[in-house]
Every structure is written in structure tokens, then in C-alpha cells.
């Protein structure tokens, strides 16, 4: 059947456009305006050109925070994506066990982000926390408030616990959408378990894994509430990620101009990497 082309359908996009304009485009324009001015008050501001960008680009603390952020997001993707796919593959395909697994996995996703931080503060406390006290009971000195490595391990554990379920749910949905005929054909051909995964399941999950990788990259790159509640960016600056550093400038010091310049650079980094991931994942297996 031939599709009807009716350009009036574009009017249906208007509500989305209005919402995006109010929630994203207008605030972004305001941030750009702030980034070229020294703001002292609502009616007291002076044009400074690219001065704040220069200051921010030469800020050593920003360079360190950026490196930390890339390390964190890299680790998040390296751990959460394979782990999420592995759990999805191991989950029951149907029946009450499948429903129970899905509900249990979804639980961490339902908890507010700042509460997650509070839960893990208590959980890892060396004196009363179940995890912290157990590790210390084994003779290992573990304290995320004092040792940078312990803080990183705790933040990573918290992140993996919180967000791997999202990858699992997406991968599971992708697996469930594969028709049985593919498995039957593979069985007739005598395909191994690995071959089924490599040539059927993984290609069929490409769409959902693209979404999972993009979401996890963007979310982990913008992470704020959980590490802020858990470590406050410490010990020292060990877990001061970009957003924590940004909030220190914008809210702590009330330097709106530099904070706006910082936000634009931050936005451009996220935009570039999201586009690169998107293109790479869309072109996997196409020889491009």
C-alpha cells in the first residue's frame, strides 16, 4: 500500500517543539548569554567576550575533573554493558520467575538518586554498615571517607548496582523480540552457544544496546547527586566529577559567567561523544 504524504502532520510536532523550546533551547540560550558576561546582579552585568572560556579552559581543576569523568564513564560502560547483557541472557525467558526477576531488577531504578547516596553511606560505614563492617571485619582497612581508592570503589559499586538493571531491562527486551525461527534455524545448522550470541542475539540487540550505551554514557557523564551525597567530591578532590566542580563554581562561588562557560564546554563534550557513539553503533556490521 502506498503511503499518503500529508505535510499537515508537521503541526502535530508543534507541542513537542514548544516543550523542547521551554525546557532546553531557551535555557541554553540564556546560558550562552551568561557565558560572555560578568554578572553582579539582575541589572548589573558587563560584556567580557570569551574571557570566561579562556579562564575555564586553563583551569587545572577542570582538567583533573575531566580526566576523572572520562575514567568514570569509561569504567561504567566497560562494566555495566557486558554485565547487563550477561544478566539478560541468564534470566528466565517466561513464567513467574521472569516476572519476579524483572520486578527485583527494577527496584534500584525506582529509588531517588539522593536516597541512593544515603543508602550507600550507611551500607559502607566501617562501624555500622553491613558492607563496610564486613570488609573491615575481614582485616581489610576500608573507609571511603578517608581513602581515595576506597571512595572510587564505593562510587563504582553504587553506580553499577543502581544502573546495570536499566541495561538488563533494555537487553532483555531486545532478546525477547527475537523470533524463535532464528533459534530453530541456528539449531538445525548446529550453531554453538557462542555463535548464536555472536550472529543472532548481539546483532538483534544493536538498537537497544545503542540506546543503553548512549543513556549510560550521558547519565554517567552528568552524574551528580549520588557521589555528592556519598563522598561530597572527596576525599580531597578524588571523586570531584565535572558536575560537582560545576556546582561548586555556580552555587558555591556564585560565579555565573565562568559556570555558564563551563556548562557550554560540558554540553559540547557530551554532544560530541553521544554523536560518535551513535554513529559507531549505527554503522557496526555495515562495513562503515
Amino acid at each position: 500500500m502506498e503511503k499518503t504524504k500529508d505535510n499537515r502532520a508537521w503541526f502535530l510536532v508543534i507541542p513537542v517543539f514548544v516543550i523542547v523550546a521551554f525546557s532546553a533551547i531557551i535555557p541554553l540560550m540564556t546560558v550562552v548569554n551568561y557565558s560572555v558576561q560578568d554578572i553582579f546582579g539582575p541589572n548589573e552585568r558587563f560584556f567580557v567576550g570569551v574571557e570566561w572560556f579562556k579562564e575555564i579552559l586553563h583551569d587545572e581543576r577542570l582538567h583533573e575533573a575531566l580526566l576523572r569523568q572520562f575514567l568514570f564513564s569509561g569504567l561504567v560502560l566497560l562494566i555495566e554493558i557486558p554485565l547487563g547483557v550477561a544478566i539478560a541472557l541468564a534470566m528466565p525467558k517466561k513464567g513467574w520467575a521472569a516476572s519476579l526477576s524483572l520486578v527485583l531488577l527494577a527496584l534500584p531504578l525506582l529509588i531517588p538518586w539522593n536516597v541512593i547516596g544515603t543508602i550507600w553511606i550507611i551500607f559502607t560505614r566501617p562501624d555500622i554498615g553491613l558492607l563496610g563492617a564486613t570488609i573491615n571485619g575481614l582485616g581489610i582497612d576500608f573507609d571511603h571517607t578517608a581513602a581515595p581508592l576506597d571512595a572510587w570503589i564505593t562510587v563504582m559499586l553504587m553506580e553499577v548496582w543502581h544502573w546495570t538493571p536499566l541495561v538488563v531491562l533494555l537487553a532483555y527486551a531486545g532478546l525477547q523480540a527475537i523470533p524463535d525461527a532464528f533459534y530453530q534455524a541456528a539449531s538445525i545448522d548446529g550453531a554453538s552457544r557462542w555463535a548464536v550470541f555472536r550472529y543472532i542475539q548481539l546483532p538483534k540487540m544493536r538498537g537497544v544496546l545503542t540506546i543503553a550505551i548512549l543513556l549510560r554514557f550521558m547519565d554517567s557523564f552528568l552524574i551528580y547527586a549520588e557521589p555528592f551525597v556519598l563522598t561530597g567530591g572527596g576525599p580531597g578532590n578524588a571523586t570531584t566529577f565535572l558536575s560537582i566542580h560545576l556546582v561548586k563554581i555556580a552555587v558555591g562561588q556564585f560565579d555565573l559567567g565562568p559556570a555558564a562557560a563551563f556548562s557550554i564546554i560540558y554540553f559540547l563534550i557530551v554532544l560530541l561523544f553521544s554523536w560518535l557513539f551513535y554513529q559507531a553503533l549505527q554503522n557496526v556490521g555495515k562495513g562503515e
Partner: protein, 92 residues
């Protein structure tokens, strides 16, 4: 409606007007001559809109690099960005 809260300046106003005009021009161009995806110097198929996006994003990075690495006038970076944009639109 007062737009004071948005803290507008003349340069940023001109900047956003240019971006908006470019988007309108791209839309009109698309309606008149619909794009066909093609493969140029970039290792992927791109439509006209893709190339425009790559051009804008690259221009932003060129300007940032100029600010971070040199003390020369920013207009040189704008000129380089225009040349880069033209190359991307034509050959990417």
C-alpha cells in the same frame, strides 16, 4: 514580555539569529531539493543535515581550541570555521 532575565547581548543575539536563519534556509533547501545520503571524506553516509550538524559542532570546537591554545583575535577562528563548514558541506 521582558526578556531581561535572559541577559541578552548584541553579539549573542546576532549569533542566535544567524543560527536560526541557517536552520530556516536549510529547511527551505530541503523542501525545494530533498537531500540524498552520500558518502564523502567522512567514513559514513551523511545527509545535508548531518553535514550541517558536523560543521556546526566542529566550528564550536575550532573556536574553543583557538581560545584555549592561542591569544590571537577570535575572528581568525570564525574565518577558519567558515572554511571548515564549507569543506564539510561540500566534501563530507
Amino acid at each position: 514580555m521582558s526578556l531581561d532575565w535572559m541577559a541578552w547581548t548584541l553579539p549573542t543575539g546576532v549569533f542566535f539569529c544567524v543560527i536560526a536563519l541557517l536552520l530556516v534556509a536549510m529547511t527551505v533547501w530541503e523542501i525545494k531539493v530533498p537531500t540524498v545520503a552520500r558518502r564523502g571524506v567522512l567514513p559514513l553516509s551523511t545527509t545535508r543535515g548531518d553535514r550541517f550538524f558536523v560543521g556546526l559542532l566542529g566550528s564550536a570546537y575550532i573556536n574553543l581550541a583557538w581560545i584555549g591554545l592561542t591569544d590571537m583575535n577570535q575572528w581568525f577562528a570564525v574565518l577558519i570555521s567558515l572554511v571548515y563548514m564549507a569543506i564539510v558541506m561540500r566534501f563530507a
